[in-house]
């Protein structure tokens, strides 16, 4: 009797440590973040000294005018632009990796390794390397462009508003592309060869077999890739913070950097929590809408 009860408790005991750390670091802070968003608190006070703030954190954020700008930057430049570029280039590279030409020339292994390399480089390191390449006076890109006579003097890519977003986008796409390529390659490899053969027997050309075999098979993989990359990029703090810190001016301010500076530079943890809550809400809405749209599309197919 006792033995069997012990045995039925086992799965709970075994998963207890995992659930404990997840609860401590994800669940409790998530709930506490909601509470904090409605309080005034500095990092030098203990949570007991917090004052009730009502909706002040939210109204202050809105009236300061920075928040809509940062939200638009986050959605459009940081997330949408980089995800679209990653999907486009990633799909091209995945198809190239799977092409019979590379197999014929026995170049698949080498190509695959080269494409993977940016993924092995830590984000902070990728940013450091690119900051040096894009450096306004002595960076190699500027030296090459002046050497070729394309420009007269160095362009401070990360310090002027007309180029800064494109520079950040280049860094993100470079570092995060391999993940997309590898997931898509896995998706392409999971398509049974017989289906292409069947399509060929039915007289389908290259375009028709792409439309009738490849695209439908890739759709669920693409759904997951979009979901994961959007959520990870939307919430990313490092790329913008370590390239420009949100500058020049506030040209590249995004929600994640606004959260960080509100909480740890302006010492307003409540304001930081309010931005965090807003970010979570945007992502939750995005995930629900996106999953609904993609799943109904799958049904009508």
């Amino acid at each position: 009797m006792i033995a069997s009860r012990l045995r039925s408790a086992q799965p709970y005991l075994l998963s207890a440590p995992a659930l404990l750390v997840i609860g401590l670091l994800f669940l409790i802070p998530s709930v506490y973040n909601v509470v904090l968003a409605f309080q005034h608190l500095t990092p030098y006070q203990s949570p007991g000294e917090a004052e009730a703030a009502g909706l002040e954190n939210f109204t202050d954020l809105w009236s300061s005018g920075d928040l809509p700008h940062a939200a638009l930057n986050t959605v459009l430049w940081l997330t949408a632009a980089t995800v679209v570029l990653r999907l486009g280039i990633g799909l091209g590279l995945a198809l190239a990796l799977e092409s019979p030409i590379l197999r014929r020339w026995r170049l698949r292994g080498v190509s695959r390794t080269i494409i993977l390399i940016p993924w092995m480089v830590p984000q902070v390191v990728a940013i450091a390397a690119w900051r040096w390449i894009l450096d306004g006076s002595t960076g190699v890109l500027n030296q090459a462009l002046t050497g070729l006579g394309l420009i007269d003097q160095g362009v401070p890519f990360l310090a002027q508003t007309s180029t800064v977003w494109w520079s950040i986008i280049a860094i993100i796409v470079w570092r995060e592309l391999p993940f997309v390529v590898m997931v898509l390659v896995a998706g392409l490899q999971s398509i049974p060869a017989e289906q292409y053969e069947a399509a060929a027997v039915d007289g389908a050309g290259r375009w028709a077999s792409w439309r009738s075999v490849t695209v439908p098979h890739l759709r669920p993989v693409l759904t997951v890739v979009v979901l994961v990359t959007v959520i990870q990029t939307f919430n990313n703090f490092v790329y913008v913070w370590l390239t420009t810190g949100g500058g020049p001016g506030n040209a590249t301010a995004v929600l994640a950097t606004e959260l960080y500076s509100a909480a740890f530079f302006d010492n307003d943890l409540g304001a930081g929590a309010a931005i965090g809550l807003l970010m979570t809400a945007i992502m939750a809405i995005f995930a629900v809408v996106y999953l609904r749209v993609t799943s109904t599309k799958g049904d009508s197919r």
Partner: protein, 299 residues
């Protein structure tokens, strides 16, 4: 195209007969595809080559232009010497290793136990646990930073390795558990049942029977976890305020000067910081890619 040609030659030498048919299919027309593709690969590779190269160039040459004559002149390890003499990198490196290695060991242990429960028992609440594991993958870390900061301030865990290790264990545990469950599902259950009949306890079964069988999986989960911890910047930056405790990634961020940056030193630091992940990734490339993409696609 030189790489293509040399690659083809080495292959031709090592495997002559069976590949002949496919080699004869190589058409000049293929170059229409191969040349642009090679250019794309070069663009992808360039930042890494440039990082490595710049770390070896002497300081005075770094601001001068490069000409064909001075490309390889005066290369030295000078920047690396300056990195370890003039910055705190000699400390940051062991700091990162201590935090990441101990964090990895704890995460792998926790994930193996939880993975065993999820793989072997159909217990009530199992679907909820799986849901929580997947959901945490979608939760933004940056949102957690403020409440976790306050929580750890109360627990007096800020500015200590212990605090950072707990955070790292927590953020890596969900994915590690999902991966571990997958690896354990592949081990036939009859094996641990047999050991049980012989009277072994659950822990004995895991350590003596399961762990040796699922060793490649444990290594994959360990390396994935280590890389995630090694790369982490935000929590390390916020939690470790005293310079002597900083990790490598925070150290690099600190090298960007307000007025003028010593790029030789920054590139040397970048090479050092990238080395562990590049080495681990290359050693286990295939399995890691499979594991990491499966972790993302799993639902």
């Amino acid at each position: 195209m030189t790489t293509a040609r040399s690659d083809r030659m080495t292959v031709a030498r090592s495997r002559p007969a069976p590949r002949r048919a496919s080699r004869e299919n190589r058409r000049p027309r293929d170059l229409v595809f191969l040349v642009p593709f090679a250019v794309v690969l070069l663009v992808i590779l360039f930042p890494v080559i440039w990082m490595l190269y710049s770390s070896l160039r002497p300081v005075q040459a770094i601001s001068q232009g490069i000409t064909w004559r001075n490309v390889f002149s005066g290369l030295s390890l000078d920047s690396y010497a300056r990195l370890f003499e003039q910055t705190g990198f000699g400390r940051y490196l062991p700091n990162s290793i201590i935090v990441c290695v101990s964090g990895t060991v704890i995460t792998v242990a926790i994930a193996t136990l939880a993975g065993f429960a999820l793989s072997r028992f159909a217990f009530r609440g199992r679907p909820a646990v799986m849901l929580v594991l997947v959901a945490t993958q979608l939760l933004p870390f940056v949102v957690l930073i403020t409440p976790v900061y306050l929580l750890f301030a109360e627990l007096r865990l800020l500015n200590s390795f212990a605090g950072l290790i707990i955070v790292y264990v927590a953020i890596t545990t969900p994915l590690a558990t999902l991966l571990m469950t997958g690896f354990l599902n592949a081990v036939p259950q009859t094996l641990d049942e047999a050991a049980r009949i012989d009277g072994a306890s659950t822990l004995t079964v895991i350590v003596r029977v399961i762990a040796p069988l699922v060793w490649p999986g444990i290594v994959t989960v360990g390396v994935t976890t280590f890389i995630a911890m090694w790369d982490e910047f935000l929590f390390a930056q916020v939690f470790l305020t005293s310079d002597s405790l900083k990790t490598v990634q925070v150290g690099i961020a600190g090298l960007f000067g307000e007025y003028g940056t010593d790029w030789g030193v920054v590139m040397a630091a970048s090479v050092v910081a990238a080395l562990p992940t590049v080495v681990l990734f290359s050693l286990l490339q295939r399995r890691l890619v499979a594991g990491m993409t499966a972790g993302a696609v799993k639902e």
